[in-house]
Symmetry: C2
Subunit: 280 residues, 2 copies
């Protein structure tokens, strides 16, 4: 697959420039000639939802996705209901911000180490949300996380699992048009010996593609990611595979890394653009 | 499955008491009433191979497995040949120490991020070793590592991959009786949604079962493990699954954890015995 010749599909996930406010990030996109941004709910709330909508419009920037819904497993029905309500608010925010994709980080093990029931709670939680999301024009994107986060963040750890859920739910809710899909972040899936066959299975329900790097030694378990080109992931090969199945949407760059967070945002954005053209 | 009523199958992997010499570890086993130990090549070398053999005999302790062979991928044929020679020395040591199991940590990505060719080098490396190992009564146990180690330690990250390799190699070398198998460490496989079906596929070629814990937050990427009972793994359920497929060999406790390493060895061994009876 050829290198990109422009950055028209590149989206700045705002956690990459963590110390920027939402205003700074949106304006930073415009100054850098970028038309897409991936937003996080906590940062949008800090800026104010209406103010964020105005900033997006004024700077001609669109939202590729909103992070994040999910966190379904909980010990009690009351807590699981609360999680559904929180996800409904996230869906409302997607609609207001003009993005059709809510990224789901599905949640970890709730109690007594019962990973199977946690996985069932995830499935049931997504099923519960589908009608609400569809009525508001929002799709639910299951993002498998790297198995390092299986216990405390996401019991959905492979693209295979995510595809199983999406295919089953889209069948169960076949009156809607593909309400559930997957979001593929190279950091989370690159190690998986089945990743290329699962990318094929995700044809028609891949809602997002995220880039960053796996660097060694891993600097931290959470702030673990590197800039594209600094690590071990065959990013272009993965992009080629995703595009061969028809994905032509925005490509978000999402990097959690203390050193990058401590750098000036505009420099990070310029390096991100360079590396996107060079290695993605 | 019932709790154990004795520690007759419990094996101290000597890295659990990292600050003990091999002599101290073997004597520590005897004092604790344990009959098995899992040894590491570096620690055996520090003690001396012949001296270690004598200590094992004098203390009535048997070796459940030797860690480790592997690390097959390398950029040049000369370096891959060196890796084979190093593995042959490890096989010789297994024979001398009286264990039939060499644990393989297969190695990371060698160069240019080409994970597929690294995986092929692993397959070819194991195939090359089989006759040498079989002539010395040693079996090769592929240990899938957690995907956190995919880049720098082991491109074999799932039990499914390990089974694929073992089944193919045992077919290719069918004049021998099961020369290749898997070593299942709960830390490395617990998160995998296919783990229970893959444990079934490993029937007849499961050469080892290791216990420890996945604790959160992860204290470190390498010294990452916890004492059984302190984390999120369904250890007994995994043991039940492995035993249902016929595994009745030693159960090694292998914990890399700085806090545990800083504790007195005899206390660690006593706690290990308690937790083995309580949660394994």
């Amino acid at each position: 697959v050829a290198a990109f010749t422009d950055t028209s599909r590149l989206s700045l996930n705002q956690y990459t420039t963590f110390n920027w406010t939402t205003k700074e990030a949106i304006e930073g996109c415009r100054k850098a000639g970028l038309h897409w941004i991936g937003l996080w709910r906590d940062k949008v709330e800090a800026q104010g939802l209406d103010e964020t909508v105005k900033l997006l419009r004024d700077n001609d920037v669109q939202v590729s996705s909103l992070c994040r819904g999910g966190f379904f497993p909980a010990e009690t029905q009351a807590k699981r209901d609360e999680a559904i309500e929180e996800n409904e608010r996230a869906i409302d925010e997607c609609a207001t911000l003009g993005t059709d994709t809510l990224v789901l980080v599905c949640g970890g093990i709730h109690a007594n180490n019962d990973i199977d029931s946690a996985r069932q709670m995830v499935f049931d939680g997504i099923a519960t949300l589908i009608p609400y999301a569809q009525e508001r024009g929002v799709k639910l994107g299951i993002e498998p996380l790297h198995p390092i986060y299986a216990a405390d963040r996401n019991v959905i750890v492979t693209l295979g699992q995510s595809n199983d859920f999406a295919l089953q739910l889209n069948k169960d809710f076949s009156s809607y048009s593909t309400p559930v899909g997957v979001v593929i972040d190279v950091f989370h899936v690159w190690w998986d010996p089945t990743v290329y066959e699962e990318i094929k299975r995700a044809r028609g329900h891949t809602f997002g593609f995220h880039v960053c790097e796996w660097i060694t030694p891993l600097p931290d378990t959470l702030k673990a990611r590197g800039m594209m080109g600094n690590g071990h992931i065959e990013i272009r090969r993965l992009r080629e595979a995703v595009e061969a199945e028809g994905y032509d949407g925005p490509i978000e760059c999402e990097i959690f890394n203390q050193e990058i967070w401590d750098s000036p945002g505009a420099e990070v954005v310029e390096l991100m653009k360079e590396r996107y053209l060079e290695v993605c």
